[in-house]
């Protein structure tokens, strides 16, 4: 999913630009979980003037930014195990309550990374299935099925040029028919009953060029039915 050096390419936006674009779609008052890795970047682009409440599944609502280096509290970390802060209005709770919040559908948005997303919204993001790899799932499967809107943030293509949007996932699944929308460096795709629809194409990209890159045909945007 990561690209070590972003190439100059008019058809792609940077990861920071993508994070900023995702942040635009999160309304004030939302309860949001940002998955570990690239999705945490989204927090940097949430306007400070808006109150958006971040959830971290290890037991905190109202998570704030990283602390000053000399104010790190080892008992206050996020799901990526990095030091964070707590805002006024925060609340701590235990793990069963925290995942009950997810599973019970109380989060408005979660943003996750992906290896693959299928046309019906299946997500693969926890295992490449590579032999000998140490398996680890964490909260990925709970997040995938637990928010009202599951947004994926990812490059459209792998480093070797393969599309991460696929007809059917070949990597082990994280969740079935769970993704609402995919934010990529080329375009934004909605998952619709008729497959992916191009919601917004960045720069030079067109529905035709995206179709060529992914090998997929896209649903008409009129068919979009967001959950």
């Amino acid at each position: 999913m990561s690209v070590s050096e972003p190439k100059a390419q008019a058809a792609r936006i940077s990861r920071e630009q993508l994070a900023a674009r995702i942040a635009q779609d999160i309304p004030e008052g939302s309860y949001v979980n940002l998955g570990i890795g690239a999705p945490t970047l989204v927090a940097n682009f949430l306007p400070e003037t808006l109150e958006i409440i971040l959830h971290t599944e290890n037991g905190l609502l109202g998570m704030g930014p990283a602390p000053e280096p000399d104010l790190v509290d080892p008992d206050l970390i996020n799901a990526g195990k990095l030091p964070v802060t707590a805002l006024a209005g925060a609340a701590y709770f235990h793990h069963a309550d925290s995942f009950g919040m997810m599973r019970g559908g109380h989060l408005d948005v979660c943003v996750l990374g992906a290896f693959q997303v299928s046309e019906r919204g299946d997500l693969a993001n926890w295992s490449t299935g590579a032999p000998g790899a140490i398996p680890a799932v964490g909260g990925a499967m709970d997040l995938a099925i637990g928010a009202k809107n599951v947004y994926v943030m990812t490059d459209l293509l792998t480093k070797t040029g393969e599309s991460k949007l696929v007809e059917a996932c070949t990597y082990p699944l994280t969740g079935v028919a769970c993704v609402t929308r995919v934010y990529t460096d080329h375009a934004i795709f909605d998952v619709t009953p008729d497959g992916f629809a191009v919601r917004e194409a960045f720069g030079e990209n067109t529905v035709a060029s995206l179709s060529e890159l992914t090998g997929l045909e896209f649903a008409e945007i009129e068919a979009v039915q967001l959950s």
Binding site: H95, I134, V176
Partner: protein
């Protein structure tokens, strides 16, 4: 008089038998009962099954217990961290059994054990290989998979403050698995920074009531909290996060409690 406090960590872990299942609290290093684990290493029980969110990081705490060859099986959600080399080596060598459980199912299965629930239907994991072979059921149009409780003979938990009845409060995100594990074990052993006189804790704010706690030990300030690498952050592909190593390089200082 009820007094669940014991003089030291060695007394707290006395009697743990070979082959026991032991829940160990913590999410990474937050809430990891390091002093109790060190005492368990000294105590000598082996052939253990460990229930924890992770599988140890660095060379201390749970990783040190694993390195001693004392653990037969780990039940966890996220063993892979940039500094989980001890687990990684043992697992690759086939010397450790792993039961991988989605984190929310892990928490809920532990909660179910403490709350006397026989089994429950969860939507998490449906259609994935972690639910393979498990009973499925469609309820109100949604598919669920049946999961069973995880019980243990012992729970080792790290709290912040406690009284002699065993009432416990935690600090911030170190609460994590502590409360559900405390309720799910036959014998629950809690280390805290500070033991306070009965009546010091606000009854509205007690998180783990003493009914779930068997032994309490005060370990003082956890010195390791203030030293070096306590984080084990990784990105989605398992690589260490840049800021994690930064945190490690600069060291950390414990924030003054509010």
């Amino acid at each position: 008089m009820i007094d669940k406090s014991v003089p030291d960590a060695a007394a707290a872990v006395a009697g743990i038998r070979d082959g026991a299942t032991i829940m160990i609290g913590g999410f990474g290093r937050a809430g990891e009962p390091v002093e109790l684990i060190d005492a368990l290493i000294e105590q000598g029980a082996q052939d253990l099954t460990i229930v924890n969110n992770n599988a140890g990081s660095g060379d201390s705490g749970l990783a040190a217990l694993l390195a001693r060859g004392r653990v037969r099986k780990v039940i966890c959600s996220f063993p892979r961290q940039h500094d989980s080399w001890v687990f990684d080596g043992l697992y690759r060598a086939g010397e450790l059994e792993l039961e991988l459980v989605p984190q929310g199912n892990l928490a809920e299965r532990i909660r179910a054990a403490g709350a006397g629930i026989g089994a429950f239907f969860t939507p998490t994991g449906v259609g994935t290989e972690l639910a393979a072979g498990k009973e499925e059921r469609v309820i109100d149009g949604r598919t669920y998979v049946l999961e069973h409780p995880i019980k243990a003979e012992y729970a080792l938990v790290s709290g912040w403050r406690a009284d002699r009845w065993g009432n416990v409060v935690y600090r911030k995100t170190s609460r994590n698995f502590g409360p559900v594990m405390a309720a799910a074990a036959t014998t629950t052993i809690v280390q805290v920074d500070e033991l306070l006189p009965l009546g010091s804790l606000d009854p509205e704010s007690v998180v783990t009531p003493g009914i779930f706690v068997d032994r309490i030990v005060g370990v003082g300030d956890r010195a390791w909290l203030n030293e070096g690498d306590f984080v084990g952050g990784v990105d989605i592909e398992g690589r260490p996060l840049a800021s994690a190593s930064t945190g490690s390089a600069t060291g950390t200082k414990r924030k003054v409690d509010q």
